[in-house]
Symmetry: C2
């Protein structure tokens, strides 16, 4: 159980449609590596609008500010940022606070 | 591990600021009951904008359409809808598809 409020950010992205498949692959790799290898990355949920698949939302949940800053310095995050820089048309980061977060153990594991 | 793509919805809500504390309590109760008691409710993440706490986003992840429909018929969801009806100024539901979903086991457990 998390004892202090986790740090939550929401990223809203618009991706170049011509590069969407490549972007999705790089994002999925980055998310898998981050949650698997970083103790302070609690959850990353990337979803796309059904009627506009180039518009993505990523809900990012970190244990705390230090975990978020450590995440930005990891090789897998830096690789993702470098390789996707020309794919992202716009990026909006919104700072959030958690109201209620619940997931079944092992249930967020896609693909 | 989820074998088929889960059903994902994003709810964007604006709550009456005067009733925000009461709304947050009812929402947190509903989320806890849903994930604890419904096999097909995989995760519910409710967050508020840091600079505008009356604006909430809920990322809802269900095993499939049947799980979502079953959720709508539960006593705890019906209670939540009835008691919060006059608290919600606007509600926008957006159908999403998952790109990548990962969480550490047991990490989404707030508050």
């Amino acid at each position: 159980m998390v004892q202090t409020a986790p740090l939550v950010r929401m990223a809203e992205l618009e991706i170049d449609p011509a590069q969407l498949d490549a972007y999705r692959t790089l994002l999925a790799e980055e998310i898998e590596a981050s949650v698997a290898s970083e103790p302070g990355v609690l959850a990353l949920s990337a979803v796309a609008a059904k009627d506009d698949p180039a518009r993505l939302t990523i809900l990012e949940i970190y244990a705390d500010q230090a975990a978020y800053e450590a995440h930005l310095r990891t090789p897998h995050f830096r690789k993702y940022k470098a390789l996707t820089a020309e794919m992202v048309r716009s990026l909006r980061l919104v700072e959030m606070t958690p109201v209620a977060l619940r997931a079944k153990s092992g249930a967020l594991d896609w693909p």
